[in-house]
């Protein structure tokens, strides 16, 4: 008996959307010949969505037809689209035409509208059709069954002429309305408002239905900028299954750049591990991170993804410390990506970070200021899942990561004390190592001490060490004697 090769799974033909990030959410694009509803409140970006798909399709050599009912007039719409980078005047009208079908709807109802749409799709040879203003058709439908029949006939015709159809409509109060049951997919665009401040809003996209295709479920952030809509797939969904890199037990520990700390960790950081460095402001967390990046080289590129200190201040700090980091920056084995911790979008930051890591083959990563990530989401509860997904992916890519985390108490959390902020939300679970830096007050002087709270799978030294920030960076005591004395455990 001859073994048979199993047939390759059926791969339906896809329509790339031309919207950055959306094809990732859709597992490659919409299914060709399908009919999809795009719904959202006024201002959500439905018109840009429809236009971007049309221009993207035209740029790929296809033909598209944009049909309006009672929607923004074409002249004003095109005036707005001209400001966006995807607008290509040469596509008009041969590859992309705009027509109004409202008169046909007014005169002959859904029958007239359907007839016009099919006639124009065939006449123009369009393989993408956008119908903007479905609500007008809904209002002209005598009964719900009329609307369902209209969509059904449109769907049948679309599949026959290989035309993918998008119906743009305002958000519905109820999710299940007649048209929703008929279409192949539903894209919902919405604005989520920050629960605490209720001042900032985050645009979110959700694929509520997608027949015949896997997709990234849940909501994904998107932005509307000079390039139109850009979607940032939710990191937790995107990296739900991390890249399956083979384990590399032969790799040596990665040095923190501070010899005593390496010794305390049992030789250094495990390759691909995640380390949290927790401490109050000014204690030397970023300095420790600069030590860590000082070990970068051509074969071990590094990235500082910073929120805390802007590049100029970091460079000044680097120059003041004899850590050799300036040379690493000059030879570009280390790069700094800085963003203010104001109104970022969490998944956009994750996307930017991961794109840089992949492009440069980064091996040592510093995220300076975990709070910067936390502040970039309207849902702080996400941060643990986000960091876990990121840590898993980075681990499998062989990236050793170090995050600095601001402690909420000036005198630092005591080992064993409850941790606040992102740590309190469980971020530390995704980290293999936890390094604690804190101030101790003794005889009217503030002393700095450092300790290892956690180093997974390592026989680490849990003793505290006093340290100083000097012109050579961090200088850590080789033994715990002085720290013991400060805490009353031995002679001062």
């Amino acid at each position: 008996m001859n073994p048979k090769t199993p047939p390759a799974p059926y791969q339906p033909a896809r329509l790339p959307t031309g919207i950055a990030g959306l094809d990732t959410v859709l597992d490659g694009g919409f299914l060709r010949g399908g009919i999809y509803i795009v719904q959202g409140q006024p201002g959500a970006g439905k018109t840009i969505f429809g236009n971007q798909i049309c221009f993207g399709h035209a740029a790929a050599g296809g033909k598209a037809l944009y049909v309006t009912l009672l929607a923004e007039n074409h002249a004003r719409m095109l005036m707005h689209m001209r400001t966006l980078s995807f607008f290509e005047p040469a596509a008009l009208p041969a590859s992309l035409a705009y027509i109004s079908a409202f008169q046909a709807l007014e005169d002959d109802g859904l029958e007239g509208l359907l007839e016009l749409l099919l006639r124009e799709v065939v006449a123009q040879g369009a393989t993408v059709l956008v119908l903007d203003g479905l609500v007008a058709a809904q209002e002209h439908a005598g009964t719900q069954i009329d609307l369902k029949k209209f969509i059904h006939r449109l769907q049948t015709a679309a599949s026959l002429v290989d035309c993918t159809i998008f119906l743009l409509t305002s958000a519905q109060n109820q999710f299940v309305s007649p048209e929703h049951t008929m279409v192949d997919g539903i894209v919902a665009l919405s604005d989520a408002v920050d629960g605490d401040a209720a001042w900032r809003a985050e645009r979110q996209l959700e694929i509520r239905k997608f027949r015949g295709s896997p997709h990234l479920r849940g909501r994904h952030a998107y932005r509307i900028g000079a390039d139109g809509i850009e979607v940032f797939p939710r990191i937790e969904g995107l990296y739900a299954r991390p890249a399956a890199a083979p384990p590399r037990p032969d790799l040596r520990p990665v040095s923190t750049g501070v010899g005593v700390l390496d010794a305390m960790l049992g030789g250094g950081l495990a390759p691909g591990s995640t380390t949290l460095v927790v401490g109050p402001p000014g204690i030397g967390k970023t300095t420790l991170a600069l030590h860590f990046l000082g070990g970068c080289g051509e074969a071990e590129p590094g990235l500082l993804f910073g929120f805390a200190e802007p590049p100029a201040r970091l460079l000044a700090k680097t120059d003041a410390l004899a850590l050799g980091l300036r040379a690493r920056l000059d030879e570009r084995s280390v790069e700094i990506l800085w963003q203010p911790a104001t109104e970022g979008v969490l998944d956009q930051l994750g996307d930017r970070l991961m794109a840089h890591v992949r492009r440069r083959g980064v091996r040592r990563l510093v995220v300076d200021g975990l709070a910067g990530l936390e502040q970039a989401t309207a849902e702080p509860g996400r941060i643990r899942r986000f960091c876990t997904a990121l840590a898993n992916e980075l681990r499998d890519l062989g990236v050793t990561s170090l995050y600095t985390v601001e402690a909420e108490e000036m005198l630092g959390a005591l080992p064993g004390a409850p941790l606040g902020g992102a740590l309190g939300r469980g971020v530390s679970i995704s980290a293999e190592n936890l390094v604690l830096m804190r101030y101790l007050e003794a005889r009217s002087l503030l002393h700095r001490v450092i300790s290892i709270v956690k180093a997974r799978d390592s026989d680490f030294d849990a003793g505290q060490r006093e340290f100083a920030v000097t012109g050579r960076g961090l200088v850590v005591d080789a033994t715990s004697e002085r720290a013991q004395a400060l805490t009353g455990g031995g002679p001062a």
């Binding site: 007039n73 002249a75 005036m79 005047p89 009208p93 109004s100 008169q103 006639r119 006449a123």
Partner: protein, 124 residues
């Protein structure tokens, strides 16, 4: 009284122009498609046509071509209206007397219609 035919598929535009040009003293008719426009022109020859370019069925270029082929419609001045630039429209059709870029200002429309409806006498 001079007559104007306004041809545009988009809801509201033809009606708006009809109101404005009516106030200016023109007799105005409207059509929402190229075929409808040709039928109306044949029924009553207008003095000026304001013609949208992108329309379902027969677009502006198709209307101009049909007008050129019909002796009874020859010589009617046409102002083409489009949100595409004139350089684009000019490459797709000819035979129009004026061009109005959408979104237009009503003053420009009134001035264009007046110019086409009342051409300057040719020098002798």
């Amino acid at each position: 009284m001079k007559s104007v035919l306004v041809v545009d598929d988009e809801f509201g535009i033809a009606d708006l122009l009809a109101d404005v040009l009516g106030e200016e003293g023109y007799r105005v008719a409207t059509a929402a498609s190229g075929r409808q426009a040709l039928a109306q022109m044949r029924a009553e020859r207008p003095d000026v046509v304001l013609l949208d370019f992108m329309m379902p069925g027969l677009n502006g270029a198709g209307v101009l071509k049909a007008m050129a082929a019909a002796p009874e419609l020859a010589g009617i001045p046409v102002a083409m209206m489009s949100s595409l630039g004139e350089s684009t429209i000019g490459g797709l059709c000819d035979g129009y007397a004026a061009f109005l870029l959408k979104p237009f200002r009503l003053g420009d429309v009134i001035e264009t219609v007046a110019r086409l409806a009342n051409p300057a006498p040719k020098p002798t």
